[in-house]
Symmetry: C2
Subunit: 503 residues, 2 copies
């Protein structure tokens, strides 16, 4: 059998895995958007089965043997070639997957699911003690998971790698230390200023009108009916069933326009997956490369584009036509309201400036938990202490404090930091794009968003998982992750909002 035909066999096996993943994706999407509520119990079984069958294919020893057999083939090709890249990334996935014994994986699944249900109850009843045994159990299992990778350095590196391949805890910590050093005083200064009036963002906004405005913006940005959908859900998200089947979800509330901004956020995720090289379909290359890079895309379209004066010079007339309450609100007032800075208790309500501090405090707590420096019973106090230190706020109860996020219900450590790293990367990419494309504001005012989308396709999206995040950034912006552009951007933003006194 020639190596070429063995490579075809590899593609066949990887295609099966990808198809099964997508079948699971659709079960999840449908559950959140379309499924009649009574179907939930059956759906849980269906999802668990598809997940388990997918995993069997991922760890099939025949796949491992095939990848070994293909080493000479891989070495005979250029490292950047499709063939070498597929084999390299598939091997990395395989080697990670087989590290974890099936029994532990099943137990993580089971305890995570129990933890999720306990979290719903604990939050509703505002009672941390309900969560306590589940957090203890899930943390114990997460530690066992980490041990499967026999870490020699920081144990947090293992969980971080699941979301941000190749990045170390040390790097994250360095970036976060720098961000904290600049943001904490900035936010303290902001708290002493006259608060920004964002009352225009509250009112009575019919959902169909919000839907029309959102679609008008997204269509100007590149969404079309042939390859995209927009549906409603409780918690907005994005999934791709294929490069040409991109699904955004949002939630429109009648009393605010948050759902519109969430559309812009999910669009960023969607555009990333829409613009991956179609030749990567049904291979491990055909996906976003990391959580931070993914988040950089959603943050870019939500914040850097979506809260920008020039963007709204283009779309504000549409908004005013569809939502007449904005008829008397000057554009400047509206955009200033969109960019309001004010510490909040809840991470998901946070503005662009304070958001990263919510994330950083969670990262620090996660590390302490994993390393045993913080015991689970002490978690609420540790959380509150950092909220006071970094954001100057004391959560009134655990429901709006330590229990506000779902992520710890199954001790999914390593994900939180990527939210803030996404902010960091978004500004690095933005500055490079502006350097390449010229004044983006002029383009946006004229309704020209295609050059930015095209730049992102060329420099980020099309590569899928071909390059590791670090390599991708090096190629695109000439360096690794660097918080300075992001901090500079925030500083300019605060100066604009409050004058030089703050920043």
């Amino acid at each position: 059998m020639s190596l070429e035909s063995r490579f075809d066999e590899l593609l066949r096996r990887l295609g099966v895995i990808d198809d099964l993943v997508k079948a699971g994706t659709l079960l999840g999407w449908d559950e959140e958007t379309k499924m009649p509520v009574a179907g939930a119990a059956a759906r849980a079984e269906q999802r668990a089965t598809v997940e388990a069958v997918t995993h069997e294919h991922r760890v099939d020893p025949a796949l491992g043997a095939l990848l070994e057999e293909l080493r000479p083939f891989e070495e005979s090709r250029d490292a950047e070639s499709f063939e070498a890249s597929v084999i390299r990334v598939a091997r990395r996935d395989y080697e990670k997957a087989v590290r974890v014994p099936p029994a532990l994986r099943a137990e993580l699944e089971r305890a995570g699911s129990l933890g999720y249900r306990a979290w719903l109850r604990a939050r509703a009843e505002n009672d941390f003690s309900i969560m306590l045994p589940h957090l203890e159990r899930n943390l114990e299992l997460r530690r066992e998971y980490v041990e499967c990778f026999a870490p020699t350095g920081d144990r947090y590196d293992v969980v971080l790698d699941d979301y941000e391949p190749g990045m170390t805890t040390f790097e994250v910590e360095s970036i976060f230390t720098r961000i904290k050093e600049r943001l904490v005083p900035m936010i303290r200064a902001v708290s002493e200023m006259e608060p920004i009036d964002d009352s225009c963002l509250r009112g009575s906004f019919p959902r169909p009108a919000q839907h029309r405005v959102s679609l008008a913006i997204l269509e100007a940005w590149g969404l079309d009916d042939a390859s995209w959908r927009l549906d409603y859900t409780v918690h907005p998200f994005e999934v791709a069933m294929a490069v040409d089947d991109i699904r955004l979800t949002t939630r429109f509330d009648e009393d605010n326009i948050h759902g519109l901004l969430s559309c812009l956020h999910e669009f960023g995720h969607g555009l990333y997956e829409r613009q991956i090289d179609p030749a990567f379909a049904r291979t491990p290359l055909g996906d976003g490369v990391s959580s931070a890079i993914h988040e950089s895309q959603s943050r870019m379209w939500e914040n850097l584009v979506g809260r920008r004066t020039s963007t709204w010079r283009c779309f504000y007339p549409t908004l005013q036509r569809e939502l007449p309450e904005f008829g008397d609100v000057p554009l400047e007032t509206f955009v200033r309201a969109l960019n309001k800075v004010k510490p909040t208790l809840r991470r998901v309500d946070a503005d662009e400036v304070t958001y990263s501090l919510h994330v950083i405090l969670r990262f620090e707590i996660e590390r302490d938990l994993l390393d045993g420096r913080l015991a689970v019973p002490d978690l609420p106090d540790a959380f509150d202490a950092k909220m006071r230190d970094y954001l100057g706020l004391q959560p009134p109860d655990v429901a709006s404090g330590v229990l506000q996020d779902v992520h710890w219900s199954d001790m999914s450590l390593g994900y939180f930091p990527t939210y803030a790293l996404g902010n960091v990367v978004s500004v690095q990419l933005w500055e490079r794009a502006e350097a390449d494309l010229g004044d983006l504001d002029e383009q946006f005012e004229r309704g020209e968003f295609a050059p930015l989308a095209e730049w992102l396709r060329e420099n980020v999206h099309r590569h899928g998982r071909k390059y590791e995040p670090r390599e991708l950034l090096e190629r695109t912006v000439g360096s690794g992750m660097n918080p300075e552009p992001y901090l500079g951007y925030l500083q300019r933003e605060l100066e604009e909002l409050f004058g030089a006194a703050v920043a």
Copy 2:
């Protein structure tokens, strides 16, 4: 290992198969109702993979060994017990599945898919020659398929068994001979009568109003939001993701109310699956027992209930309120129009009386093709000749003649007869239900449909696949399939429409 725990292992394996089937079902439902059009190519791969992986689980030799091991356990239980029924039905499925070599199954799949695409083109271009090689190839493969079962009797028995387990071609033929003998003269007589005026069914009917009327009827019949959905599609269908996740689809056209009747039809399928014993979930018992029994349910709600004066005495005011064009149309005129009898070229446009003849002529042609009495090149002439004989119509071209249906594009023989058998069974069940429940018209006029639905649950639905179709009918109506009640019903219907002269 105790046999009880081996039985649990069987349930686990069967649960996995069912979950995978449902994942495939959702991929199909989504493709027809929600998927952005550009996602079609990826979806075809996803569906093929899930189908292939499901099949691997179905023919897993370990499943066969387990079923053998469980023979003593099965024999130790009552044949009607859950355990014995699961093992019996699972073994039947397994033994059928392993008869067909994977290579033949793949080739049937491939040739069928090519045939489908050729059919779309052949119909559009009205050119039988495009289909000819595909029909030849698919027929050849279908014959190979039949040979896998080493038939000793009629070869058509094999394909029939895929849709109507346990039924023989001889039985179908006897029923159809009797139906034809009565229907052909009836229809000839009808063609000589003054045509029924159904012009009130054509007009300008806004889709949202049709949707509201349909939902009002279906909700009165038992549909609720917690366990059902109604979506739009090109070709209406019904699927169940679970006993409490039932999905109907329809198509509302602005110029007629056919979409409303198609809702009633699909509801019949949905109610069947909604009322299967929930304890049968994730086992082979948790499904409709055969195509004819399934079709008897859709036909019952569409025709016997849905075209009935008493039903419309209940719902006509709603229809008139939502679709004011019916304001001046007397109830009697409307119901008479719904029950119009007139031979049509297209099977899907056929009325209750002529429908079975469309089916019978296809059954006869299918048998002749399979047995080699009819060569594929002669198919169009054979089709036209029977259309003239049975329905008095000459198709003007192949697109509206022999190419009108999708079923032969992959030579899926054996399915057509179940449409007419469904009509037969629907009236047998109806008469038994009326005998048990008293005057259904009085109940319907009062809006009471629950007694009929409950009767169907008790006597048909809840049993799922526990009894073979013949056994189920014997238990419920005390005999096998019998066309006389159906013929009597049609005769009474024609007398009502045209007076005694016709029937």
